[in-house]
Symmetry: C2
Subunit: 126 residues, 2 copies
């Protein structure tokens, strides 16, 4: 049996050389992000997207298990995403692969970080 | 002269053993988060907070330079924050120290990650 040592997991996803036409379309981005949340088996609570002038989109999908964030740089065909999830049932890595495919990234990297060290939390309770 | 190699910086901030009474108060949390954005010298665009039942708060402050996120776990007196900024003028580390102090964390850790590798972006343009 795996011992749970952290409360959550945050994946930093870099998407390079994406399909330019998708990076400034906030409606399409919102749709893809909600789909990604569903693919990760997350429960969508609320969503929130902001279109910057002259270009670029920032957005957050609040999920019951934390969040999924996006920032697009159309001028660089680059997207920064992070997915923060809690619980063993979620599949954020699958969502990352979906996002890379949907935005047609030529290359991408995933960086996984564990959040909320349970041993450190226990110290405060002792 | 420092050569800019990345578009942005994301700091993952862990706050342990915080003041319990503050972790379920979404109004107070929103106020502290906006103050943190201002201390980081960021431009606040929008804010968005969600209070979970029975407890816990998730929130995002969208800034012109990306975002600041928070998730609180009142049952563990633990808070996960991340601050994503672009530009050399911003001071997210100062905001992190402010947040640790405001939430009265007994211990905290900051993990800095650079986002958007400029060399990788250039490959897509060649």
């Amino acid at each position: 049996m795996k011992h749970m040592k952290y409360l959550g997991k945050q994946i930093l996803l870099e998407l390079y050389d994406c399909n330019h036409s998708k990076l400034n379309d906030s409606e399409l981005i919102a749709k893809i992000m909600v789909q990604a949340a569903e693919i990760a088996k997350a429960t969508v609570v609320q969503q929130f997207f902001h279109h910057f002038s002259p270009f670029g989109v920032s957005g957050t999908v609040v999920i019951a298990e934390s969040h999924i964030n996006i920032h697009t740089w159309p001028e660089h065909n680059y997207i920064a995403i992070d997915i923060f999830t809690c619980g063993e049932e979620l599949e954020p890595e699958v969502a990352c692969e979906f996002l890379a495919k949907e935005f047609e990234a030529t290359s991408h990297t995933m960086d996984v970080h564990m959040r909320g060290n349970v041993e450190e939390i226990a110290k405060g309770k002792s």
